[in-house]
Symmetry: C2
Subunit: 171 residues, 2 copies
């Protein structure tokens, strides 16, 4: 079984590379994905927090660059070009050290970082996906093949009234 497994892995890896170079250059038309991490995102301001169960068990901080934060605070829809939203995802795990102090199971904290996702607004470049470029990074590298990345837009498009952005600003 091993040679087959390796061969499949090789194809998958190759497909991944193609998915991230061709769409970036947009040589084959849309969709276009974001393939480099927006610099300085860890210093951005807080939009909100999120917790997803289902298949995710994720704990998230959602941050925005200045353009995104200004639009959120002003209630500007659609978001202006240049706005970027970052979702920092971690595992949602119990905190044993906190629970010890509290004397009961009650405290959950971010565990292992799982991935970082971005939505980058550029109404021309990403016209085919509602003006948003989607990005998914693991360990600092683009991750997820083209089939996976193509799932971003149709789901986000369900929340069209808020310009495809699920997260509301936490006052």
């Amino acid at each position: 079984m091993r040679p087959i497994a390796f061969a499949l892995l090789g194809v998958a890896t190759l497909a991944g590379v193609v998915a991230y170079t061709v769409p970036a250059a947009n040589q084959e038309g849309p969709p276009v994905f974001v393939t480099s991490i927006p610099p300085g995102y860890r210093d951005w301001k807080l939009i909100s927090v999120a917790h997803e169960e289902g298949n995710f068990h994720s704990f998230s901080a959602v941050l925005g660059n200045d353009s995104a934060i200004q639009a959120y605070r002003a209630g500007t829809i659609p978001f202006p070009d240049g706005a970027i939203i970052a979702a920092l995802h971690y595992r949602h795990v119990p905190s044993e050290e906190n629970n010890k102090v509290f004397g009961q199971e009650q405290s959950f904290v971010p565990g292992t970082p799982t991935n970082i996702q971005f939505m980058v607004k550029d109404s021309r470049k990403y016209a085919a996906t509602g003006g948003w470029g989607f990005a998914h990074f693991q360990d600092g590298k683009p991750s997820g093949d083209e089939a996976f990345m193509k799932t971003c837009f149709p789901c986000h498009n369900e929340i069209k009234a808020r310009d495809l952005v699920f997260t509301r600003y936490a006052q």
Copy 2:
């Protein structure tokens, strides 16, 4: 019953005012609590996120001023004077609009804001409580009587090895 209810409310309100003016001026010695909201805290950088069940059902974003963030990133313990940590607390509630899109119950978001708590480091002013001044605000005003505020220190003091700070920095 009404006059009595009003009278009790009056006493409670008065007691609240006394509790927050006397310790602030430190006329009766320690403990000293923080009675004004540190300006600009909503623009501070992210330390981490938190979720408490038990009696809380709270969803939190934990932010730090520049001094606190620098100390976290450098691993500096104890935190330097001037460091301030803010915990923005909300109810941990399901998001019906997100769940509708996902087609299942999986999404939790911040609900009503409940309170904002701060820890302000000043090793001289707050020497009696490990160098930290504690603050608890509801609707922009100091909240919680002196008995409540006195519960902050002994619990935080359980995590002495990390200078009384429970929240770890989310990478």
